[in-house]
Symmetry: C2
Subunit: 323 residues, 2 copies
């Protein structure tokens, strides 16, 4: 099953979720509607709803119930993107102007707040308490992760452990929760919930590592922002962490750039090349692949339904995606 086939097979339900998302942001305040639709229309892969829909098929799949999970999860993701843009001082997101670039930081902050609150409001319509607990736990972890990201920004001396914990909170957790809650809301048994939760965690880790690789190997057109943006913003990711351990002179250059808090002159294409020369890309790729393998292993033992093949295909897609 190809990725395009997965979307085709879920098409009808995904577009219903999309409609629900649009309806959900119909707030009574024009600025908020404008800011939210702006983000909504910027698109994105809706990967979290996809995970929810697929995981729900391991139980008693009913879209009217599943949407109370799929919509909030995408809204939480969007809310965190808005707040991230405030942090990163980003002007572009998916090639479009960010909310904070178009309005200001304060509007971006409250648009995020609105999306978080709205997400919980929708989730509360599920009538499922455990869902609420898991969702709010995840949001707590995510906000801790955000503060951690600020603390580690422009800090070149990070342990790999710190990086992994950060991407767990930043990405893997919400994907993991998407899978877990999809299974939960559809009434799948606990073993299935657990396996899907773990599949989501491993796949999410691989997804973020791949994203971090692409920031070095992608073109500006593919990324919707210049290559090396993470480094420019002081976010030191796996390839850079590895490369600094391999190349002392590169390390010195990055340390002094980090000391300028991103204001210093830097030959980013040159830095990127030197990072690549250390073998950092294939090192990072291997780590992503190891996570994907772990994710795949969790799927074994689950009933051999179409959704399982789709989840496997998504993991494979992450492994080979180019942008």
């Amino acid at each position: 099953m190809k990725l395009s086939e997965i979307y085709l097979y879920l098409k009808q339900d995904i577009s219903k979720i999309e409609k629900e998302l649009e309806m959900s942001i119909e707030a009574r305040h024009p600025v908020l509607v404008k800011a939210s639709s702006h983000l909504l229309k910027a698109g994105g892969k809706r990967i979290r709803p996809v995970f929810v829909l697929l995981s729900a098929q391991f139980g008693d799949y009913k879209l009217d119930k599943v949407k109370h999970v799929a919509v909030p999860l995408e809204m939480i993701h969007m809310g965190s993107l808005v707040h991230d843009d405030v942090i990163d001082d980003a002007e572009l997101r998916r090639g479009k102007k960010t909310i904070k670039a178009e309005w200001d930081n304060r509007v971006a902050m409250y648009t995020g707040d609105y999306m978080f609150a709205k997400a919980i409001e929708i989730a509360s319509k599920s009538g499922n308490m455990k869902l609420h607990e898991i969702l709010s736990d995840a949001m707590v972890e995510m906000s801790i992760g955000e503060v951690e990201q600020i603390k580690e920004q422009f800090n070149p001396d990070q342990h790999l452990r710190i990086y992994l914990r950060r991407i767990k909170r930043k990405t893997a957790l919400l994907i993991s929760v998407s899978c877990e809650l999809g299974a939960l809301i559809a009434g799948a048994d606990e073993t299935t919930q657990m396996k899907l939760k773990r599949y989501g965690y491993f796949t999410g880790m691989a997804f973020q590592i791949t994203d971090d690789i692409l920031d070095f190997v992608g073109t500006e057109k593919e990324l919707g922002k210049p290559a090396g943006s993470d480094l420019m913003q002081g976010n030191i990711t796996l390839p850079a962490l590895y490369a600094m351990r391999q190349d002392e002179s590169l390390r010195r250059d990055l340390v002094s750039f980090m000391q300028t808090k991103g204001t210093g002159d830097v030959d980013m294409p040159g830095i990127i090349q030197r990072i690549k020369d250390t073998g950092a890309i294939s090192y990072s790729k291997e780590m992503a692949d190891r996570y994907l393998d772990k994710g795949m292993r969790e799927l074994k033992g689950l009933p051999d339904i179409r959704a399982k093949r789709a989840l496997r295909e998504i993991a494979e897609y992450i492994g080979r995606r180019k942008f």
Copy 2:
């Protein structure tokens, strides 16, 4: 019953709530703990927990259940204060440095996010779905209110209606919800819940109007910030709205100050005096009193227990408070 007696009578339970609040912010991230405790230690009247505890006494009062409402409500309030400080660019809150002054806007944003998420996490332990719906509805409204406040900042041409809607979302709503949910969690009947909810709304409106009056009549020492701070930050409140309608030359001066977005030179003590000269303070006071009367009327028909006398006393206190 005096206000001090109310606190005395609730003392034991309030201090348990205080302890729960402290425990709740024990995040695993030092910056977050520091930022949150900073806010927690700044104190405050804990008025929302007080409303929860009192309202719960109209049902089957059990602190172990009630705390799942009282703690989240205070945390949501604190979270919104943190985000407010980002908006208002405030350096002082209750006479102490704000989180954004001590750290930065980004830390303030995520500390707020953390508090909101933590609040929902705690509320989810109540096992009560309706509570969740009401709480998340309120958070949605509050975030809409925040965006509205940004839009209306430095806008001298506001209808009274806009002001009232803003203070409803900013203050009255959460106090109203505190009363409603206190009654709900204690299993009070629906009429009681409704009466307390309405009492909370009216009292909350009066509370905010009084706050807005005090910003003009209080001293810097009493307020913990200079008098006229609201105006300086472009937040146009009831006394100023009224005064501008009465005194055309004052209106012109305020309009031109607002056009400078708060950067222009202004004789604030002079402006405050001219606002007072229009009778704006007693006009605003009367409006607050009308809300308090409406709140009191809701209490009629409720059983004549100690908590009812306390709620009446709180309303009376708001009517006469000086800072």
